[in-house]
C-alpha cells in the first residue's frame, strides 16, 4: 500500500471535493487523494418496513486493485453489503458510486454487472441442467462477442481454474470445491474489474478452501482485479491486505494488515 495514500478518512466528501489532487498535510508533507473505485455514503438497508436494519450507515471507500476482506458474525450485514457492492440490491438510503456510476440512480444495472462485476456465491448458484462449460459461458451471452470468441474465452478460463476435463459435466457430478471453481470461472469469464466473493470457502473443507482462496488471490494478482471477500473466518480475513469488521450493520474496524 502506498504510504502517502489517504484511505477512508472523512469518507463523506462535500460537493467540491476533488479527487486526485495533491494537498499539504499537517506534517508539511505533500499528499494526494486517489479517487476510490467504490464509495459508499451513509448506506442504510432496511428489511420488513424498517423493522430490520441490515446496514446502518456504512461509509466506505475501496480502491482499485485492493484485496479487502469483510468480516463479522452472521447477521451482521456483511453479505448485504456485498450484494450492494455487486449491484444485486439497492440500499434503502444512502449513495453508492462504483467507477463513477451512481448505483442508486441507475435504472438498468445489468450492463454494469455484466461488464464490471464477478460474483462468487457461497452456494455456487450454478444452473443444474447446464454443463460446466455452459455455466461459465452464461455471462458472455448478452455481449456482442462471436460464438467462437465466447468458446475460446470460456475454455481459457476453465483451463485457468483447472477443470478442463470436467467441461461437459453437470454441476451435480462435481465436488463442492470443483463447483466453487466453476463459480469462480463464471465470475472471471467477463474480465470483471471487481470480484465479490460471499463466503467462498464456507461450504468447503479447509484444504479445498485454501485452494479456492489461492485461486482467487492468484486471479487478483495476475489481473489486478479488486477482490472483496466476505467471511466469518479470521484466518481467511487475515490473508487480505485490508480487513473491514462489521457488526450490527456498522463498520467497527477498518485496518490494513500489512
Amino acid at each position: 500500500m502506498d504510504d502517502n495514500q489517504i484511505v477512508n478518512e472523512n469518507a463523506y466528501p462535500d460537493d467540491e471535493y476533488i479527487y486526485n489532487e495533491t494537498f499539504i498535510g499537517e506534517d508539511g508533507e505533500e499528499y494526494y487523494y486517489e479517487e476510490p473505485l467504490i464509495s459508499l455514503f451513509d448506506v442504510v438497508k432496511e428489511y420488513d418496513k424498517g423493522m430490520v436494519k441490515a446496514l446502518n450507515g456504512i461509509n466506505l471507500d475501496i480502491f482499485e486493485g485492493e484485496f479487502v476482506s469483510i468480516i463479522g458474525p452472521s447477521g451482521s450485514g456483511k453479505s448485504t453489503l456485498l450484494n450492494m457492492l455487486g449491484a444485486l440490491d439497492k440500499p434503502t438510503r444512502g449513495k453508492i458510486f462504483i467507477d463513477g456510476i451512481d448505483l442508486v440512480k441507475e435504472k438498468d444495472l445489468s450492463q454494469f454487472r455484466q461488464e464490471r462485476i464477478g460474483f462468487v456465491f457461497q452456494l455456487h448458484n450454478l444452473i443444474p441442467n447446464l454443463s460446466v462449460f455452459d455455466n461459465v459461458q452464461i455471462p458472455l451471452l448478452p455481449t456482442d462477442m462471436s460464438n467462437k470468441e465466447m468458446k475460446e474465452r470460456a475454455s481459457e478460463i476453465i483451463r485457468a481454474v483447472g477443470l478442463e476435463d470436467k467441461k461437459k459435466q453437470r454441476p451435480n457430478k462435481l465436488s463442492g470445491g470443483q463447483r466453487q471453481r466453476v463459480a469462480i470461472a463464471r465470475a472471471l469469464v467477463n474480465n470483471p474489474s471487481i470480484i465479490l466473493a460471499d463466503e467462498p470457502t464456507g461450504s468447503l473443507d479447509s484444504k479445498t478452501g485454501e485452494l479456492i482462496l489461492n485461486l482467487l488471490m492468484e486471479m487478483h494478482e495476475r489481473y489486478n482485479v479488486t477482490l472483496i471477500i466476505v467471511t466469518h473466518d479470521n484466518g481467511v480475513a487475515a490473508l487480505a491486505e485490508r480487513t473491514i469488521k462489521i457488526k450490527d450493520g456498522k463498520i467497527i474496524e477498518d485496518k490494513y494488515n500489512y
Binding site: L88, D89, F112, R113, E115, I127, L141, P142, N190
Partner: protein, 359 residues
C-alpha cells in the same frame, strides 16, 4: 413433466373438439334432404298410416305447372315382435319403416345406386338400406317377413341419409295389396329447375285444404335450426374444454417458471437484461407448447378413437377438422405464453438477491 401437464390440456381440447365435430357431421348427414323437392301429406290425420291420400291425386300433382314428376308412397311401420319378446339385448331394429314406392320413382328418395337388383312392380321383392342390412345382418338373397308375408331381398342401397338407409323399400302395388289399401300416405313432388318451390307448395295447400306440404328448403331450414342449437352446444363444450385445458396449461407453465426464479436471479446477477431473460423464456415456452401440442393431439385422437372401439360404437365417427387442431394449438401457445411470461416478468423485476433467495 411440463410437457405432460400441457399435453393433458391439449388432449382435452382436441378430444372434445373431435367429438363435437363428429356430432355435427352426423346430424348434418341425417338431415340431408332427399330427391323430391316437395312432400305432400294429409293433414287431417296425425298418423301417415291412416290419413291416406287417394292415388288419383298423384296424377293431378304430376299435371300441375312447374311439376316434372310425382310419386305416391305408402309407409308402414314393421315392429320386430321377436325383439320385444326376447328382451335380449340383440342389436336388431325394434321398428322399421317400410315404404312402398314404384321402382322408377326410387330416385325421389335419393336412392340411385343399388347394390344388387331393384324390384319390379307386383313382386314380393324388397331392397333394404345399408344401415338396416348391417344392424339386422341381412344380405342379398335373404328372406324377410313384412306384414306377415315373405319378401326376398334383391338389393342394398346407401344414400347417406340414416333415415332412408335404415328403411325397407318394396313395390307400391304389392304393399297396397298386402295392407288392403288403395291410397298413399304421401306424395313426393319433383319440380323443374328455375321454379319457385314454395310458390308451388303454397298453391297445393291452397287448392287442397286437407294437405300439408313440406319443401326441401323448409327441411333444410329445420336442419339449420337444429345445427344452430348444436353449434351453440358445441361452443359451450369447447369453451369448457378450453377453460379446463387452459387452466391446466397455465398452471403448469406458472409452476415451471416459478421453479426457475433462482435461475433467473443467477442470470440477472451475471448481467443478463430482463428483456433477454424474457426472450429466452418465450422461446422455451414456444418449444415446450409445440412439443406438448403434438403429444396432446396424438392422445386427443387416440383416447376417443380407442374409446369408440372399446364400447363398440359404430354409428358415430369423430369429426376431424383442422379447426380443432388450430384451436388447440392456438389456445396452448397463447395460454402458455401468458403462463410463462407472467412469472418470468415478475421474477425478472425482483432484485437479484431476492430471486436468488427463492427455493
Amino acid at each position: 413433466m411440463s410437457i405432460i401437464g400441457i399435453a393433458i390440456g391439449i388432449t382435452t381440447i382436441v378430444a372434445l373438439g373431435l367429438i363435437t365435430t363428429g356430432m355435427e357431421d352426423s346430424v348434418q348427414t341425417s338431415l340431408n334432404d332427399v330427391g323430391a323437392e316437395i312432400t305432400v301429406s294429409n293433414s287431417s290425420s296425425v298418423s301417415t298410416n291412416t290419413g291416406l291420400i287417394d292415388s288419383s291425386i298423384v296424377e293431378e300433382m304430376k299435371n300441375r305447372t312447374g311439376v316434372i314428376d310425382a310419386a305416391g308412397g305408402l309407409t308402414v311401420t314393421e315392429m320386430n315382435m321377436d325383439r320385444l319378446k326376447s328382451r335380449d339385448s340383440d342389436s336388431s331394429s325394434l321398428a322399421t319403416t317400410v315404404v312402398g314406392l314404384a321402382p322408377d320413382k326410387l330416385y325421389m328418395m335419393g336412392i340411385n345406386d343399388v347394390d344388387g337388383k331393384i324390384y319390379e312392380n307386383g313382386t314380393r321383392d324388397a331392397i333394404v338400406g345399408a344401415e338396416y342390412a348391417e344392424v339386422n345382418n341381412v344380405s342379398i338373397g335373404d328372406d324377410i317377413t313384412l306384414q306377415g308375408k315373405e319378401f326376398n331381398v334383391t338389393g342394398i342401397f346407401e344414400t347417406g341419409s340414416p333415415f332412408v338407409d335404415s328403411g325397407i323399400y318394396v313395390p307400391l302395388d304389392t304393399l297396397q295389396d298386402i295392407t288392403d289399401n288403395d291410397g298413399v300416405s304421401r306424395i313426393l313432388v319433383k319440380t323443374g329447375e328455375d321454379v319457385n318451390d314454395s310458390a308451388i307448395s303454397d298453391k297445393i295447400e291452397e287448392d287442397y285444404e286437407n294437405f300439408t306440404t313440406l319443401t326441401s328448403e323448409e327441411i333444410s331450414s329445420i336442419a339449420d335450426d337444429v345445427l344452430g342449437i348444436l353449434d351453440t352446444a358445441t361452443l359451450a363444450v369447447s369453451a369448457l374444454a378450453i377453460i379446463v385445458g387452459g387452466i391446466g396449461i397455465i398452471n403448469t407453465m406458472v409452476m415451471a417458471v416459478y421453479e426457475r426464479t433462482k435461475e433467473i436471479g443467477v442470470l440477472k446477477s451475471v448481467g443478463w437484461k430482463s428483456r433477454k431473460i424474457l426472450t429466452m423464456i418465450l422461446g422455451e415456452t414456444l418449444v415446450l407448447t409445440t412439443l406438448s401440442g403434438i403429444v396432446g393431439s396424438i392422445f386427443g385422437i387416440l383416447i376417443p378413437e380407442v374409446g369408440l372401439r372399446l364400447f363398440n360404437v359404430t354409428d358415430f365417427a369423430l369429426g376431424y377438422s383442422p379447426k380443432t387442431f388450430i384451436l388447440a394449438f392456438g389456445i396452448t401457445i397463447i395460454v402458455g405464453i401468458i403462463g410463462g411470461i407472467y412469472p418470468a416478468y415478475k421474477a425478472s423485476k425482483l432484485a437479484p438477491t431476492e430471486a436468488l433467495r427463492y427455493e
